[in-house]
Structure formats: structure tokens, C-alpha cells
Symmetry: C2
Subunit: 310 residues, 2 copies
Amino acid sequence: MSFSPALVAVDWGTSSFRLWLMSRDGTVLAEQRSDEGMSEIAARGFETVLEHHLSCLSVPANLPVVICGMAGSRQGWVEAGYLDTPADVTTIGARATLVPDAARQVIILPGLAVRSESEPDVMRGEETQLLGAHLEMPGGARYCMPGTHSKWVSMQGATVAGFETFMTGELFSTLSARTILVHSTGGDGPVEANDPAFLTGVRDGWARPAKTTHQLFSIRAGQLLYDHDTDESRARLSGLLIGAEFAGAGVHGDEQIGLVASGALQRLYHAALTACGAKVRDIDADVAVRRGLMEAWQRYSNTSGELTQS
Amino acid sequence: MSFSPALVAVDWGTSSFRLWLMSRDGTVLAEQRSDEGMSEIAARGFETVLEHHLSCLSVPANLPVVICGMAGSRQGWVEAGYLDTPADVTTIGARATLVPDAARQVIILPGLAVRSESEPDVMRGEETQLLGAHLEMPGGARYCMPGTHSKWVSMQGATVAGFETFMTGELFSTLSARTILVHSTGGDGPVEANDPAFLTGVRDGWARPAKTTHQLFSIRAGQLLYDHDTDESRARLSGLLIGAEFAGAGVHGDEQIGLVASGALQRLYHAALTACGAKVRDIDADVAVRRGLMEAWQRYSNTSGELTQS
């Protein structure tokens, strides 16, 4: 193992910032995390925020930085564009955007886009996880990447054939906090992956997705007529939305799915996919994004003829 | 036509209050409307609010009042319970609750409930519209009652066999104001029933309801990739949610549906149902609820042996 820092890898999303100081062989030497939102960051300036985190870890000024995520959006630091599907995910490094006039070398990776007039789609950040997941599990054909906006990705080798985003996570948080369901599902206890109400919700949403917006109201009626408990109702809401996502993604029994996730979402989606008969291979999302960032940096360096200093 | 007031008919919902001074033959002699919310009303007191509106119209103290809607909920004025399906909708008057200790005779009509452990449902207010709609169009088998929480009702003669609620209206307002879609669908221009983006959305939601939560995100992607206009995107959002409701309700071509609605919602649902090949019979929701309130009052009077003074 090498303990000499070679690269700073950053996953910079809309509401979370994660930075890892990496050695050349992929060892994590140090880490910084923050929950600063995009609007706060835009006000302070992206470079100021980044350099603040780097100074906390005393990162030398010659160390390069590779970034994926919303920092590359139009409202981000520097717009990093999209690669259109079908897209070879191993090329995201070669298509990175160098941030102009930065104090150090900083590159931002592009997102992916499905350019379809009838059903367009975009991802930004997940393409880097996907590159890492592909390296971890090269034979995978379908990947599920749960989150605020869950992504379902079809791959052929290293090529992303297409993908679909489902608003599952945002629907869960919005419906449980901002609609009449707040009375039935309020509270903030975590949904447990082995809760029967969750798993029944998954199966109901998966089996009859057309009924989803009815089944949602039924949660409220269940509280009025049967005094259903809010924890149970919240678990059912989560299950229904995840089940409807599975129906939309066309999940079927015996299918093998690479689940790129971590923490509570990994546990929920693993249990939910298993309940629908899918064969799940777990890929840690943090490991995947770091591996993707490292690999993209290597490809960028090779393409641009520049090598990291280590 | 009689111009002598016989009854005060009130549709008292969560966010709207409508009161009509009626003659014995159903003529509307005067009207009061307000948008006071339930929490505001609960603070002032239901009787105070009602008597204020009655005094605005100089309604004599001996005139009875019949009320339907959320005023009869647990958090309302007096809980008026539910009739369980299958339920004869002509009996809601006989099952009304007399408000105790009121300054005048005030009755509140019960709601309807589907008592099913797996998919319970409730309505409160729509049962009275339904009674009026049944009297307007006795042969109808299916009624669509669009709104914040749209109701689809199956009737056999005067009996409500069952119903399903879809959260369509609340989803539209919440998604367009409280999620990432606010950037793509923000604004408050009305959706027009003949907008091609609306009608395409209806057909897409109806044909592939499992894809709804994906198609929602696609609206956002369409703005990022193609600069889709917010009015067009809002029309598509409305169409997708209504189309998904139709899929859930099992709408099929050539089916005859009684549409109990008024105003903008009537125009949108009429166009949407027609686009899916259904045969629509329009029933004005205001006319229906007044007729239902009158009929329920008559039934209550006959049952309780009391007659209106007119």
C-alpha cells in the first residue's frame, strides 16, 4: 500500500459533498464530508469551498482534483456537458472539462444523456459510480442505483445502452411531508428492510403499478378507518413507491441486478429486489464512485499527456 | 318557481365553503362562498362561521341547514360517520347526524367508506354529489369525480358498489411546487384542455402507468436537454397524472362515464376521457351537490317526522 497522496477525488452532488484524498493504488488516506447545499456553495464560490476542504487536510497545491456530480451542471461550477447514450462509460475521463483559471488542476466529469424527444433523461454523478461498478463487476447487464432520483441502467460491456430515472426518493420525502399523507406517515423513524408493511408495499406496487396513486390515498384511509400506525404506513409508502419503480423498470424474477448503493438504501433495495425474486449483486456506491473517479483521472491523464505527481 | 326560502344547503370542504339558500323546488335564491381553511374555521368555531354567512344573507333563524363534506370529519364540527359500501346513496339523509345544541336545526351527512383491510377508502362530500348525479342520470354505472382526490365510483342502481380515490390533484400541485419539477413546470397559467402536450401526456400515462414516476423525471430532463417550455411541461405533468389515474381506474374505449365536475377540471377531464375513447356524460358538480343536499334533507325530514318550514 502506498501512503503518498496522488489525487483528490470528489463526488459533489446537489446536497452532499464528499472528498477523498487517494493514494495512487486507490487507498483512502483522508476524507471530508459536508451537507452544504448547492445554493449556499454557489454563493460562497465553488473554488473557495473546495480549497477550504483541501486546506483542512493540508493537501499540497500541486495535487490534482477530479470531480463528478452536480458541480458540472449548468448551475454548477463549470458546465461539463453530457455524453449521449449509447456511451462507453470508460471514456468519461477523456471527455472531462478542465476548470479554467483554477489555482490547481481541477477536472469535472461529464454526465450522460438520453436524447429522446419523447422520453429524455439525464444523470450526473451516477456515470462515475457506473464506471466503478463496471470495473467491479464487468459482466453486469443491469444496474439499479437508488436515490432521490433512482437510475436503472442497461449496459452492454462498457457501453451504457440506455437508462431511466424514477423520482422514487423525492416522491417519498415529498409525499410524507407535504401532502395529506403527513398525518398518516409523519415522523422520521427509518423504514426497516424487514418490515412486513414495507415488503407488502413493494409487492403491491410491483404487481399493480397503475394503482399507485390510489394505493397512496388508501394509506390515509387506513389511518382513518383502522388507526393504522404511522411507522407501518411510512413503511408501506416507501414499499409502494419502490415497487412501482420496479414495475416501471421491468424487474422480473430470476433477473440478475447489480445494486449500486450503500447504507439504509442498500438494505431496503436489496430486501425489496429479493422479495421480487431478483438475484442481487451488491456494489458499494462509495467504493464504486472512488474507483470511477480514479479510473477517469487516469484516462484523462493518458489522453491529455499529463501524469499525476506522486 | 318558488321564491320562498326553504332550506340552507352547504358543501363544507377542507378548503372551500359553499352555501346556497334554496327554495322548496330547488331554486337557488342566494349564495355565499369562501376559501377559509379548516384550521382557521376550527379556531373561530364552526357555528360562528356558519351563522356569519347566514346573517350576510339575512336567513331566518327557523330555517334548517343541511351540510356535507369535511365538517362531518373527526376534526370537523360533529363527526358524522361513514356508511360502508355497498351503500344505498339515497339513505344518506336518513343517516344524517343532528348537530346538538345548535341555535337552529343543522344536520351533517355521513361519508362513505370501503372497509377493506388491504385497500381501504373514504369519501366525504362526494357521496352527496353522487346522490344528485344519480338523480340526474339514474342509469349511470361509473362516475368520475375529479378533484384534489379524484373518486371513481361504481354504481348499481342507487347502490354504491365500491369506489377508488386517486391523489391526482394533490400530486399535481405538490409535484409542480415542491419537487425538482418546480424548475420545469413552475408558474400558474392554467392547463388548457386542447393543449397537445396535455393530451399526449394523458395518452402516455394511460398506456404506460408503470412508467409514471420515470415520465415525471423526464419532464425535468426535457427542460435541461431541449429547453422545453414550462407551460408545455406543466400541461404534460397534468396529462400524465390524469392518464395514470385512468389506467388505475381501468378506463377503456367506448365505456360510458358520468363526469361529475365543473369549471376547468370538467374541461380537462372531458377532453382527457374523450381522448381515451370513453363516452362522457357531463353532470355539473354544483348542480349535483345541491340536488343531493335537497334530497338528503327531504329523506331526513321524512325519517325524523319533521318537515321544513317554508
